[in-house]
């Protein structure tokens, strides 16, 4: 066997690929499911928190700031380990899937809150004054006038952050979630061959390249000429 053959044998071994493809496909779908639930819940959480913060109830604001700062500072893996291994000792036990979903939703929520918040405060005061002067309430102004403009500004940073955080679903392999990386490393140790890792990488590309492209499309779609 020359070097090239050895390379192909270890990384692109067709027998191994054939054998473990189904489990990687399972991992792919589980990762999709997990990612979608994180994105939907995390962005919704961030938006709701940003809206609450715009109402300026000082004590509530402080809580939200504390939450956002903590979750942005802690590595997600630390939280996952904490939730999965420490919480059962106080009687709360969750499946690995739930722990990963909850952790990454909270983390995405924290980042999304800050991004939405920055978008909201960047809207010119004149927009608020114009809307309020016609009798719109604070909430009506926020929803009909400020948010639609703020969201356009937040699309690029939010897309980037969302992608970065959903990639952390790979941390699920630490707590037994059968997502892509877990399936790939398991298959690798059973087969003693690195080909499943290549499959795993391909699965991640398949999952995230459309998301990146979609993010770029949405960015051009939402960028409209400023006055």
């Amino acid at each position: 066997m020359n070097d090239w053959d050895r390379f192909v044998f270890s990384f692109f071994n067709s027998d191994v690929i054939e054998q473990y493809l189904p489990s990687i496909v399972d991992g792919f779908f589980l990762t999709c499911l997990l990612a979608i639930q994180i994105v939907v819940a995390g962005i919704a959480l961030g938006l709701v928190l940003a809206l609450i913060r715009s109402l300026k109830f000082t004590p509530v604001d402080l809580l939200i700031v504390l939450y956002a700062d903590l979750l942005r500072a802690l590595p997600p893996l630390v939280l996952i380990i904490l939730f999965y291994f420490a919480l059962p000792s106080v009687g709360i036990s969750m499946s690995g899937f739930t722990v990963v979903w909850l952790t990454l939703t909270l983390v995405l929520g924290a980042f999304a809150e800050e991004i939405f918040r920055a978008g909201i405060v960047s809207i010119d005061k004149g927009q608020w004054q114009a809307a309020r002067s016609t009798g719109l309430t604070h909430i009506q102004t926020l929803i009909s006038v400020v948010l639609p403009q703020a969201i356009r500004i937040t699309v690029p940073p939010l897309t980037n952050r969302t992608i970065a955080i959903t990639k952390n679903t790979a941390l699920g392999s630490v707590v037994g979630v059968g997502e892509i990386l877990n399936q790939a490393t398991t298959a690798q140790s059973f087969s003693g061959n690195a080909s499943p890792l290549m499959l795993g990488a391909a699965a991640y590309l398949l999952l995230f390249i459309p998301v990146v492209v979609f993010g770029r499309w949405i960015e051009t779609r939402f960028a409209w000429k400023r006055q």
């Binding site: 016609t134 009798g135 719109l136 006055q227």
Partner: protein, 247 residues
């Protein structure tokens, strides 16, 4: 308890932190009156206007509009603001909505008009300012003068009792000023009560019933335009007018 004034401001003080911007303003506007407010930059003109619809909360004093004291507890300020139109120097149109959308928003959300009814009301308001043919245009497709006329239509559509203008033409290229002043002239002729902060002295001469000069958060003097412009009482007024005339 009938108040002869549509707008009646009494003992108005406004401070931002430790700086007192309005230092006790008494200011009355009768129905159908057009009052011009002039004064140096930073004298508190915009703050006074914003206190008239409580966009700015007065530190003390009362603001009575159409017989209702806006500073009294329990007043539905959003309802009162329908009766007080406001036009801004920077137009402040909603950039994500068409001209028509800008006008219909409050009609739908505040007056609870249906989609069709609101569109009809908006078109009539845009017609009044000569902008009906641009109803479907977005703000960034309009000139400054056109944007300002749409902003006026947005306020007019709610059928306010009084309109407040904060330097409505200062952000416009000189050749576009006329179109906005023309709309304001039309409104005046149809009997609208108006308070106008502006440096358009010619327009003041032609259209104002009264000119009010503010400096340092106080009304220095007021009177009919001829008197104010040709024979003001106070040196401060004279100096200001001389400066504006040379600008």
């Amino acid at each position: 308890m009938t108040n002869p004034y549509l707008l009646d401001v009494r003992g108005l003080h406004k401070s931002f932190g430790h700086t007192e911007v309005l230092a006790g303003i008494d200011f009355q506007v009768a129905e159908r009156e057009l009052v011009f407010v002039i004064g140096p930059s930073g004298s508190g003109k915009s703050t006074l206007l914003r206190c008239c619809n409580l966009l700015e909360e007065p530190t003390s004093g009362t603001v009575t509009v159409d017989g209702v004291d806006l500073t009294a507890p329990g007043v539905d300020i959003n309802k009162m603001r329908q009766r007080i139109g406001m036009v801004f120097q920077s137009f402040n149109l909603y950039p994500h909505m068409t001209a028509s959308g800008n006008v219909t928003l409050a009609l739908r959300k505040v007056l609870k008009q249906g989609r069709a009814e609101a569109a009809e009301t908006a078109l009539a308001a845009l017609e009044r300012v000569g902008m009906a043919d641009k109803a479907e245009a977005f703000p960034n497709e309009l000139s400054g003068g056109q944007q300002q006329r749409v902003a006026i239509a947005r306020a007019l559509a709610l059928e306010p009792k009084i309109m407040l203008f904060d330097e409505p033409t200062s952000a416009l290229d000189p050749e576009l000023v006329g179109s906005v002043l023309k709309v304001m002239q039309d409104m005046r002729e149809s009997g609208m009560t108006m308070v106008v902060v502006s440096h358009e002295m010619q327009f003041a001469r032609a259209a104002a019933d009264r000119v009010t000069f503010i400096d340092g958060g106080l009304i220095v003097e007021e009177g009919p335009p001829e008197q104010m412009f040709s024979n003001p009482t106070f040196p401060r007024t004279r100096e200001f007018l001389a400066r504006v005339a040379h600008a």
